[in-house]
């Protein structure tokens, strides 16, 4: 028996983005930078509404996935777009796709 009805659950969006950097980056660096970008742009209150969750990073393709609340997608997209450096090195997060499911990102 589910605790909440399916219609009452929080709706998420998965954001697929490419990490462009001069040097290859580790998953941990991308994860920390993504959270820092959202926190610095939206603040603690805004971040709590966006509830970002780093899902994965593929170092080969340099593609990362971040999950957020569906109402705050545009804010999270702007926050990621405004991330300009990781540990002093220039980077750019290039948004590729937004979907309601991880499977949808691969379609």
């Amino acid at each position: 028996m589910p605790v909440v009805k399916p219609t009452m659950r929080e709706k998420h969006r998965y954001i697929l983005y490419k990490v462009e950097a001069a040097q290859p980056l580790f998953e941990e660096q991308v994860k920390r930078a993504s959270y820092a970008a959202v926190l610095s742009f939206l603040g603690e209150y805004g971040s709590s509404l966006a509830s970002p969750k780093f899902i994965s990073y593929d170092a080969k393709t340099q593609m990362a996935i971040l999950r957020c609340n569906h109402t705050e997608t545009q804010k999270v997209k702007a926050a990621l777009a405004l991330c300009a450096a990781i540990e002093g090195k220039k980077v750019a997060f290039r948004l590729q796709k937004v979907s309601g499911t991880i499977a949808g990102l691969n379609r």
Partner: protein, 177 residues
Amino acid sequence: MGFIDLDVRFKANSTKVSELGFSDFRSPFAFEMARPGDARKIPPSTQLAAASSLSIELLREAAKSKRVSLLCNRGFITDVGLIRDSAAQKKPFEIPIAPLLECGGIPRAILMSKMRFFIKICTKLRAPLVIVSQAKDEFQLKSPEEMIAIGEMLGLSHDQAEWAITEIPEMVLDASR
């Protein structure tokens, strides 16, 4: 309708820009208005000129000049006279993304607040706006989707932000031909 970035400030690779989703991009003749009459120094052959200044009087002069196509109010000082001139002459103001990338924390918050108030008054007085990257390197280039998301954060609606990178740049390019 294609997306156009009207102000790229380095020799950008056109394939890279089209990969991001833009149909066209321009590197205008960007100059700083230092004293009255500077707009007359723009070579007549220049197709697209962007006048930038911190002074309201100089920007008003630039708005009335036929050689200037874009206005860059660097301090985002909100002056109703200037904004009315821009609306009357159909000279759009640039909303650059690069300054937001170059700072962080409180300075970025202050800049965004100034931009948001400026955009609010421009929208109210129907002055045209263009969202531009003003990118100085490849990392500062942003895709249309990212520009729209940032535009929405600055108080524009989704449609207004889309217009600021499609219809209005098209109008500027048509006028400068």
